[in-house]
Subunit: 292 residues, 2 copies
DNA sequence: AGCTCTTATGAATCATTGA
DNA sequence: GTCAATGATTCATAAGAGC
C-alpha cells in the first residue's frame, strides 16, 4: 500500500498472445475480458483470420487462458459473426462447441445491445445492433459479485410499496407462515435491483485510432461483477487498452497483450496519471514507472 | 373477394406436424413463424423432448418446412436454450448447424429482448431476458418488405409529448401490438426509420390457458416484414393460435398445426368473427388422435 | 380522456429433499 | 450412485378498476 491506496500493477506486453501468455503463471488471473479480432475483419492490423480457420487459430490461445485463469475466475468473450454472402457465418457457434470440448463451461451468453449501432441499409438485412458476450468458466464455483452491478429500481415500485398487494401477502404467507414482515422489509426502501443478461450500452468512438474499441462501460461492468479490488484482469487482445484503463481506474491489477507496437504507445499515452504503481513492458521492462 | 375484402383462409389441423406437414404442397408457404416446444419444457403438454434428442426430433419437421416453403419465403424460429446445472445447453447451436446441413441458409439472428422477463435470483446467474429469433431461408432471394416495419424517428424521446413518465412512454410504446412505435396517429408528420435486429417486446399474460404464448407483436412484425396481403403463413406449433389470429387480422392466409385438441378449441374460440372465409379441419379426426 | 393504483403472472434457475 | 419433485427467490409489464 502507498498513500492509503492499493498497489496496482498495469502490465502491457508486446507480442502475439499465443506466445506471450506462456509467460503467465497457472491460476493467476481472476477475469479475462477481451474482444478478439473478428474473422476477416481488421485485415490490415491482424492479418485477417479466415472464418474457416478461426477456431483452430483461437484454440491454442484459449488453452493458455484456461491455464492462467483461477478456478474461481471468469472468461468473457466479446464476439459477433459477420454476415457474408447473405448468410451469418457459423464460426462463433463452432467456437463455443470447441471451447466446451477444450474444458470450458459455457455458463452464459449476455447480449450487448448497441443502442447506436453502425448505420447502413441493405435490401435483405437490418442493421446489426447486438453482439455476443459469451461467459466461460473453469468451474461452477466462480466468483460473482452481483451487488456490485445493481441498478436503480424502476418507478413502478413507488406506488406498489405504499399499499402491498394481496398477492404479495399471500405469496409471503405461503413461503413461511410467520414472517411476511421480514420479506416486506426487503422491499421497503429498496432502491436498486439486479440487472438481467441484456446490456444496453452505446458504442464509443473514444479511440479514433483503434477501429474496434468497445465502450468503457463494458469491461467496467464485468470487472465489477467478477472481480474485487486487487484482483487481476487480463486482456490478451488489448487493442487501444480500454480494459486496462478501466481496470486501473478500478484498482485492479491488469495485464494486456497487444501485437501492434503502435497500440502499445497509444495505451501508454492514455493511461491515467494517478498515484499508482505502473510498469510497462517490454520497452520499459523491469523499469518501474511512477506517474504523478 | 367478398365485400371488398380478400378471401382469406385460416386452416387449423390437428395432429403431429411431422405427419400433417406432408399434406401441404411444395413451395406453397411464404412465411413459417413458430415457437416449438423448448427442450425439457412444457413436459405436461408436449412430452418434454430431451436436449440431447432435440436435433433429431426437429430435423424431420424442418425437412418438410423446407419443402413447403416458397424459394422466396422465410422461416423464423423462436427458441432459447435453458441453463441447467450451471451451464447453457448447446442443442440450439447444434440445431443451427444441422439445419444448414439440411439445406437452409442461416440468414440472420434477431434478438427478442423480453422487457418483463421472469423473476428470480441465483448466486451465479442473472435473469434471462432474451430469446433467439433465428431466420432461415431457402434462397438468397427472399422477399423482405422493410418499409412495412419502419418506426418513427425520435418520437417520444424528444420530450415534446407532455410530461409522460419514462414508464408511461415505454408502456405506450408496446401497447398497440405493432411491436415498434406508438399509436399510428402519433406517427403522422414524423419521419420514419428502419429498425434493427433487436426487438424489444414484453411477454403477454392473456392467454392463460397456454403457458408459452408469445406476444402478438412478434408474429405481426415478421408477417409485415416477410409477407404481403394474400400470402400464406404457416405455424406448425400453433399452440394458442397467436400466429393464426394475427395472420387473419392482417389478411394473410394461414395454416396452423397443433397436436393438442384442447388448443384447437382455444384457437377457434379466440379467432375473430370478421367477414372472412374460415375453415377448420379436420373435425373428424378428433377422436382418432392420441396424445400425451 | 388521461392518469393512478391494484393485481396477476410469465418458455426461470438452483439447492435441497426424497425415491 | 442417479434422477425427479419441491421450495425459495423475484421484477416489469398489461389489464382493469377507479377517479
Amino acid at each position: 500500500m502507498r498513500g492509503g491506496k492499493m498497489n496496482i500493477e498495469t502490465i502491457i506486453k508486446l507480442g502475439d498472445c499465443k506466445n506471450i501468455l506462456k509467460e503467465l503463471q497457472d491460476n493467476s488471473v481472476d477475469l479475462v475480458v477481451t474482444s478478439p479480432p473478428y474473422a476477416d475483419c481488421r485485415k490490415q492490423t491482424y492479418g485477417g483470420i479466415k472464418p474457416q480457420n478461426y477456431v483452430e487459430w483461437f484454440l491454442p490461445i484459449s488453452k493458455e487462458l484456461l491455464r492462467v485463469l483461477k478456478p474461481t475466475g471468469t472468461f468473457i468473450l466479446n464476439i459477433k459473426e459477420k454476415a457474408e454472402n447473405g448468410e451469418r457465418n457459423i464460426y462463433v457457434l463452432e467456437l463455443i462447441l470447441a471451447l466446451r470440448k477444450q474444458g470450458w463451461l459455457w455458463t452464459e451468453e449476455f447480449i450487448w445491445h448497441k443502442k447506436n449501432c453502425y448505420p447502413g441499409k441493405w435490401p435483405n438485412r437490418f442493421r446489426d445492433a447486438w453482439e455476443r458476450l459469451l461467459q466461460f468458466n473453469k468451474t461452477k464455483n466462480f466468483n460473482m459479485y452481483q451487488d456490485a452491478v445493481k441498478v436503480p429500481i424502476g418507478g413502478w415500485a413507488n406506488g406498489r410499496l405504499k399499499n402491498l398487494s394481496e398477492t404479495d401477502k399471500i405469496r409471503d404467507n405461503a413461503r413461511n407462515g410467520s414472517g411476511f414482515g421480514k420479506n416486506i422489509s426487503n422491499w421497503i426502501g429498496k432502491e436498486t435491483v439486479y440487472p438481467d443478461n441484456v446490456l444496453h450500452l452505446s458504442t464509443e468512438c473514444y479511440n479514433k485510432k483503434h477501429s474496434a474499441a468497445f465502450p468503457d462501460a463494458l469491461p467496467e461492468w464485468f470487472i465489477k461483477l467478477f472481480t474485487q479490488e486487487g484482483d487481476t484482469v487480463l486482456d490478451p487482445f488489448a487493442g487501444s487498452g480500454t480494459t486496462l484503463r478501466v481496470a486501473q481506474k478500478m484498482y485492479r491489477n491488469s495485464i494486456g497483450i497487444e501485437i501492434i507496437p503502435e497500440y502499445i504507445s497509444l495505451i501508454k499515452s492514455q493511461m491515467s496519471q494517478e498515484d499508482l504503481f505502473v510498469s510497462f513492458e517490454p520497452e520499459l521492462k523491469y523499469e518501474k514507472v511512477k506517474y504523478g
